[in-house]
Symmetry: C2
Subunit: 138 residues, 2 copies
């Protein structure tokens, strides 16, 4: 598989793939002419890399996690790392969840205080209340 196809299937740029290789996250065979060839599995691998990036891991962290693959065996060290990164991801999840709920509060409370919409009997001031709960007026 050529680099362009991998890029398209995985939804990333060609440049990104070359960057991943540069970082040691992705390898490739080369044709005699020097062009990269990938197995089909590369697509999934790239997607997983993207997931890890999206989870806030830097390329160094990703690099330290991926090797579990090269041998199919988890050393104690790898296990520790995986647990550590899992914890990190979970912490992010918790924060994100809290943020989402906060946004929900603001939205829900704001419903009652819309200028255009008649606030169907809900008590006024609840928007200001919700806003005060989390951030104050400038």
């Amino acid at each position: 598989m050529r680099i362009g196809e991998v890029a398209e299937r995985a939804g990333v740029s060609v440049r990104a793939l070359r960057y991943y290789e540069e970082q040691g996250l992705l390898s490739s065979e080369r044709t005699t002419g020097g062009q990269r060839r990938y197995p089909d599995s590369a697509v999934e691998r790239v997607r997983f890399i993207q997931n890890l990036y999206a989870a806030g891991l830097g390329s160094k962290a990703v690099l330290r996690i991926l090797p579990c693959v090269e041998n199919g065996v988890l050393t104690d060290e790898m296990h520790e790392r995986l647990l550590a990164e899992r914890a990190r991801v979970q912490a992010q999840l918790d924060e994100l969840t809290a943020t989402r709920d906060k946004l929900d509060d603001v939205i829900r409370a704001g419903q009652a205080n819309r200028p255009g919409a008649a606030g169907r009997g809900r008590r006024r001031g609840s928007a200001a209340q919700a806003c005060a709960d989390g951030f104050q007026p400038v």
Copy 2:
């Protein structure tokens, strides 16, 4: 409250606070000498800003969300924006959850194939299996 105390309490740097002000996310009174003074509420506000940053919003997006506060009223436009950003955050949550679960798979499957630990009766090869499910050997 002086800038240093806000920074410490909110767990960010002084530089960050000045940056937030520069971006219009945070305001302050000034003493006659030109030093910034903040109300106690600034700490919470900063924490919320941090949450939004952590949720992947850029300072422009944050800037467009925060104003709901200044008047305590949601215009239709603000409402739209809030909903849009909420959706974004939710999408991130979903991705993150999937990534966490994937990590869990790798960890759980790897348990059976640790070099040091006796794999209490679990069938071998499951680690390689889990690894294969998501990313392939280099």
